[in-house]
């Protein structure tokens, strides 16, 4: 309670007696519960009325609010919205600056606006169209690569097909370059097992031949810049009888065949290119071998050997003297001929010169026997082949021995080569050949003038031995079938008269030996076998004496034959070396004498008839020259001689049948 100026108010409380709260029907009186002292105090506090204070405050507040409300702007709302807008803008600006500064921005989930069905369809259409385009692109790519692959395969098929064909014969070496497709192939032409290491550096430059292919895949081999050299053998001064160069059969230049056939890819092209490559490789291989042989020949000349006589040497040329007269030139030459002139030369050189010579020597028997230079007769080509063959055999033998360590028994020809070295064997072979030709000429000149002689060359399989057989064919007697035979000899073959007499001429290195079948041997007459019945007369002689000795041998064979025939006919005959004596009835002796003369142009064997009258005792026939007659009969054929024999049967006294 506040002392105020105003009237004080007083509230009078009721007496604190318990007041009756309620009376129920029963009349019971209900009094309010007794409150505690605290509650009495609170109740007392509550009795105080502070309402007038509260009213007073409320009034004051109302007044203030009324005042402020009266003072508000009319743009308050605008300002508030502007402020909100400004807040939003600052947020956006912050966001933008953050994004510009590349800071990570986490956007609160912004849900995409749900697209309309139209948009979905459009998106699908676009992606489908893109896919289709890509597929089409892929399809075109596949087709294009198929075409390219096909071309590539075709090209490679041509190349590798040709390579395989050539690989059957030639070694192929492969070199891997850097990057794909840069593999290069090369032909290796050298057989390393054959060459000595000493000779390798010389040949290694030509060893590997690169293989090219052109845009169509056709295989081609480069022609080496260093042209191939081949061995050629010549006799000095023999330019006209030219050395045939069978080398290098390159047809034309390779460039002519490449450019034209771009359109047609036929098998012919492949065949042509393969053949061309093959011929080039063949030439190179041959050239390497022949150079190797030349090398070996040169090396052999450093060793002094029998028969080798070097008179000139350069790096690609060797000159040897053979005997007294001939000079042999061995050289390495390029095949400098064009294909046309070489082919023409090939046709010309059909050895017509040699053939003409042979014809002259045999048919024109009446002419002077041709004494030609013997080396002109000898074909250098055959000697060249012989040389190559010999050296190759030697190489093979060395290779075999190296690899197998076996000593093989060599053939006699090889043994001869081994004894004295290859080159000296070769030189001696050449010398032998030259001499053999001379012997042959002599034989031919003899045989051409004796019609009943036949000359035959015999093979000897040795390069330094030559052999001929001179066959004297005698006519068969008429009474051949009536020859008496011993009945006890029925099991043995019938005795046949000889139909021929053989003389063999053997030439070994320059040594001539004659083997002539002569008179029947005693052993032969006992056994009655004609095969082993005849004495072989064996002589050695020189070239000058050869014709004479031959003719003598032949004449004695004729005499032999006549003697046999006469004996069979029952005539009383005796024989001397070149004479046949008939005993005539009157005691006279008729002589048939053979005369040989190798220089006689008409015939070598001529016949004389002599009559020798019996002399009284004490007188020699030579004292009466008029009784001795010698009649020249001429160059009689064997038939004539035989008929002469028959004519003399009547004149002769019959002797005892043998």
């Amino acid at each position: 309670m506040a002392a105020m100026d105003e009237d004080v108010r007083l509230d009078l409380d009721k007496l604190p007696i318990k007041r009756l709260e309620a009376i129920d029907e029963a009349g019971n009186e209900h009094y309010p519960p007794d409150t505690s002292s605290e509650e009495q105090r609170l109740a007392a506090i509550r009795r105080i009325d502070f309402s007038w204070v509260i009213e007073r405050d409320a009034k004051k507040a109302k007044k203030a609010a009324e005042e402020t409300a009266q003072q508000a702007w009319p743009w308050q709302g605008l300002m508030e919205s502007l402020q909100q807008a400004q807040q939003e803008l600052t947020v956006v600006l912050d966001l933008i600056s953050t994004v510009e500064a590349n800071d990570a921005v986490t956007v609160a989930t912004a849900s995409k606006p749900k697209s309309t069905p139209n948009e979905v369809l459009v998106d699908m259409a676009v992606s489908a169209a893109t896919k289709l385009q890509q597929l089409r692109h892929l399809g075109r790519y596949f087709k294009q690569s198929a075409k390219t692959m096909e071309q590539q395969f075709q090209k490679e098929a041509r190349f590798y097909g040709s390579l395989i064909r050539l690989q059957q014969n030639w070694k192929v070496k492969r070199q891997r370059g850097t990057g794909p497709g840069s593999e290069t192939f090369m032909f290796d032409v050298i057989d390393t097992s054959q060459l000595d290491t000493a000779a390798m550096p010389r040949f290694s430059s030509m060893a590997l031949i690169p293989i090219d292919q052109d845009s169509l895949g056709t295989l081609s081999v480069q022609v080496p810049q260093k042209s191939c050299r081949f061995l050629s053998l010549q006799f000095r001064g023999d330019g006209a009888n030219g050395v045939e160069n069978y080398a290098c059969k390159l047809n034309g230049v390779s460039s002519t065949s490449s450019a034209e056939e771009i359109d047609t890819l036929e098998d012919d092209d492949v065949n042509k290119s393969v053949k061309h490559a093959h011929s080039i490789l063949r030439n190179i291989h041959k050239s390497i071998f022949e150079e190797q042989v030349f090398d070996m020949v040169i090396r052999e000349t450093f060793v002094q050997s029998e028969g080798i006589n070097v008179t000139g040497m350069r790096d690609d040329f060797l000159q040897l003297a053979i005997g007294q007269e001939s000079l042999l030139c061995l050289s390495l030459t390029d095949s400098g001929h064009d294909s046309e002139s070489e082919m023409a030369g090939h046709e010309e050189h059909a050895n017509s010169e040699d053939a003409a010579n042979l014809v002259l020597a045999t048919t024109n028997g009446k002419q002077e026997p041709l004494k030609r230079d013997a080396s002109g007769f000898l074909n250098p080509k055959s000697l060249e082949i012989c040389l190559l063959h010999m050296f190759h055999e030697n190489i093979l033998k060395k290779v075999r021995e190296k690899y197998r360590n076996i000593v093989r028994y060599p053939s006699p020809a090889q043994a001869a080569a081994d004894d004295c070295g290859l080159l000296s064997h070769f030189c001696m072979t050449v010398a032998h050949r030259i001499f053999s030709n001379k012997v042959h000429l002599e034989l031919e000149s003899v045989v051409s003038r004796v019609p009943y002689l036949h000359l035959r060359s015999l093979p000897t399989w040795h390069s330094r031995t030559s052999s001929w057989s001179l066959c004297l064919r005698v006519p068969q007697p008429i009474l051949a079938s009536d020859r008496p035979t011993n009945p006890s000899d029925k099991d043995e073959p019938k005795y046949k008269s000889r139909s021929q007499f053989n003389t063999k001429i053997i030439l070994k290195d320059g040594q001539i030996s004659l083997l002539g079948e002569g008179s029947p041997s005693i052993a032969g007459s006992l056994t009655r076998k004609p095969s082993d019945g005849y004495l072989i007369n064996s002589y050695n002689c020189d070239l000058e004496d050869l014709p004479t000795m031959l003719l003598q041998q032949v004449a004695s064979q004729v005499i032999n034959w006549l003697h046999e025939e006469a004996v069979v006919l029952g005539m009383n005959v005796t024989r001397d070396f070149l004479c046949l004596y008939f005993d005539l009835d009157q005691g006279e002796t008729l002589g048939l004498v053979a005369h040989v003369d190798p220089d006689d142009a008409y015939g070598c064997i001529s016949w004389y008839l002599t009559i020798d009258h019996p002399v009284e005792d004490g007188k020699m026939s030579t004292d009466n020259p008029e009784f001795e007659k010698r009649r020249f009969l001429g160059y009689l054929s064997l038939e004539v001689l035989y008929s002469t024999l028959m004519d003399l049967i009547n004149l002769c006294s019959t002797g005892v049948h043998r």
């Binding site: 087709k143 057989d191 082949i385």
Partner: protein, 107 residues
Amino acid sequence: MVPQGQSSSLQRLHHVEKRIVLLVELAGAVMEELGNSQGTLTDAVGGLCREFMLSVKEIKSAYGYRPFEKCDYSARTANEICCKKLEYVNEKMDAMQLSIEQSTNEV
């Protein structure tokens, strides 16, 4: 004649290569078919794919070829020498024939 084993292996390789080309063409055709703007014929695609798989199987079954080297240069040299001998003998025979003809003509 080319020995049988060698040529057939090269031929096999060639065959395989042709199949590969065909294969790639098939793939291209499939792609084109799929990329056909008119719509895809599934049958055609199915057929092409089947051919594709068959070709792949074929290619897998073909085996590679190996080149073989068979050469003997010493025998080759011997043959070259034989060739020379034969040519020479031929020449001589021709000459003989010529001389025989000449002699018969003269008769």
